[in-house]
Amino acid sequence: MGYERINFEADSGRAVDDEKLQRALVNVTNRFRSARQKASSEVPGWDELRTLGREIKKETIENLDRYLLMLEENVMKAGGQVHWARDGEEACAIIIEIARKNGVKSAVKSKSMATEEVELNAALEKAGIRAVETDLGEYIIQLAGEHPSHIIAPAVHKTKDDISRLFSEKLGIPYLSEPEELTKVARERMRSEFLSAGMGISGANFAVAETGTIVIVENEGNARLTTTVPRIHVALAGIEKIIPRYNDLSVFLTLLARSATGQKSSTYVSFITGPRRKTDKDGPEEFHLVLLDNGRSGILANEQTRESLYCIRCGACLNNCPVYRKVGGHSYGWVYSGPIGAIINPQLLGIDKAPELPFASSLCGACRDVCPVKIDFPRVLLELRHEVKESKAEKGKGMELLIERLSFRLWRTIVTHEKLYGTFSTLMYYLQKPFRGKGGNLGSLPYPFSRWTRDRDFPAIARTPFRERWKKLEKEIGQGGAGKGIR
């Protein structure tokens, strides 16, 4: 069930026609949007807090080498072990090795985008280790053999009926229609998994360099169980998850919950520093932190897009994005979706793997307005669009790309010579005649404008452009000319 390809145009086209999906998307985006709106407006100085969050992240990222070493040192001081993974494959290998060394047959997982990113479940399965997703949404997705479609609500594309059928089919139980009943089944099934698993695998929302603490934010309690009950706890964290100081968490925890779900605080926040202490009565005996690069250091090298690494994965940009609202998470083709997916998928995977994504935005900027660390999405998207055109990322497009290039070159020649510009619009005025329809609009144009006129009329070029009208207007205005008799 790997991610095979990114084809935004085809997948988004299907998504907009999927009525069930459309209803689900309206539901989730409306709910999260208004909840965030309310929760953020309750915090005086919310905007300044976002600025502060951004500045802390900026300083952290710009000193990342130092903070990584500090984090490593402090995790080890607390009795934990630190592993470094250059890419997804290595991250999986490290985790599998820890499992093997300890004879682990089954692992419980709490929600983690990083483990999705490295496709850990598939790797574990291949190594003969059973991995059970325990976040209810992730559990549903795992049963269905799908990928999450939202950063914080992974099964948002599934209706209650979908889930009822899925549970009935996969778990061999009668059809249950109430969310309470379904949730109860999940609780019972997963309790026994927790109690028998040899290993708990989590992500990390933050990793505090100063103390070696990893922070996990959740609502269900499955992350607490994952990090408490099994004998071994492994946390996988991208290298950008670092926060310098313990105190900085007051800023980020305030920003995260309110931006994500609109809660003042998520139900559970776990601050984990190393394995259980000798005198502790419970908690894992071993704690492993796996630090994942997987393309992040490459983003770091690009000063123009570096801020993509400030993201704290709240999902607010998805909920407020008019494009995500229509196309859902799967259209983005990889783990991350919405505006954040549009900027980091091409950067993590390589721009040639996802050249469409930077263009999958109307640049409306709603994402930037809600981002808790003020990532300037439109600017980054524009930067990436430029990189796409500068690279060989779209070489598969062949002729289409060549035509596009030549068109822009032609356009440039025209608009940098006003005479040519005037002549060209006159020429186009006459050429459009056969396409004119009702009300003088153009109802059907040849490719590529046919993509516009399929569902919309296109305006006709004016007989007298403004530059011509001006010649007349110029004479009328002044000393109450055009305005004569109006006041």
């Binding site: 005086p44 500045e55 609500a153 948002v156 800023v251 925890l253 202490r277 770091l300």
Partner: protein, 232 residues
């Protein structure tokens, strides 16, 4: 795997400074020297709630997150609330923190007297069988209705996690305004050489999920019910 560490650090330095061999200690040119903690504190300070409103706010927020809350004036009332709670829910066994403050309340004796069995084992399966888990709270945050639990030898994590009901006894004097105030205190602990606990947990309401069409459902993994009793 040592190679990976070196390679990642090399790439990070290359990305940041265009120099893979950038000296580790050299931070002079990179730090703004800003005291972010102080800035955050000042920013969030506006919200400091005056003492008598603190309790009111805490109770309001607890109610907002589906938490049962009672204010106990004196030991008698506390005992009544607890016996009432366990009987209403038909609870027959309990597991409890062994912290001094809880022990001093005489709850063990009380509950045993009411016919409940105490689970003393550290075994996860047995703790999970308990009908109720009783904890204190090292701190509480009024602004968000949050309990702050610090793990140590007398305060295991499972007690607030595995049983279906969690009861927390919170002292009024441990309630603070907001998260920034809490972190100031935690930072002070850090600065005075106290180690960070292996686990600190914020609990804000009972376990919840909204993963099925955003319908709120309680008790998916952690306790289905959370009760807070506030004492003097």
């Amino acid at each position: 795997m040592k190679d990976s560490r070196e390679e990642i650090l090399r790439k990070v330095k290359l990305g940041l400074y265009g120099d893979p061999k950038h000296k580790d200690g050299d931070i002079s040119s990179r730090d703004s020297g800003r005291d972010f903690a102080k800035e955050a504190e000042e920013l969030l300070r506006d919200r400091i709630i005056i003492a008598d409103k603190l309790l009111e706010q805490f109770i309001k927020e607890l109610l907002n997150v589906n938490t049962g809350v009672r204010e106990a004036h004196g030991k008698e009332e506390l005992r009544d609330f607890i016996t009432g709670l366990v009987h209403e829910n038909g609870v027959s066994s309990f597991v409890m923190w062994e912290s001094e403050s809880l022990n001093s309340l005489g709850l063990k004796e009380l509950l045993k007297g009411e016919g409940l069995r105490q689970i003393i084992s550290n075994d996860k399966n047995e703790i999970a069988e308990a009908g109720i888990g009783i904890t204190g709270a090292d701190y509480a945050i009024a602004d968000t209705g949050t309990l702050v639990l610090l793990t140590d030898e007398s305060k295991p994590r499972s007690v607030s996690l595995l049983p279906p009901i969690h009861l927390a006894i919170v002292r009024k004097s441990d309630i603070m305004t907001d998260i920034s105030e809490l972190f100031i205190i935690l930072k002070q602990r850090l600065d005075t050489g106290q180690s960070v606990p292996s686990c600190m947990t914020f609990v804000t309401g009972p376990s919840r999920t909204a993963d099925i069409e955003l319908n709120l459902t309680l008790g998916v993994h952690g306790p289905k019910e959370l009760h807070v009793i506030i004492t003097e």
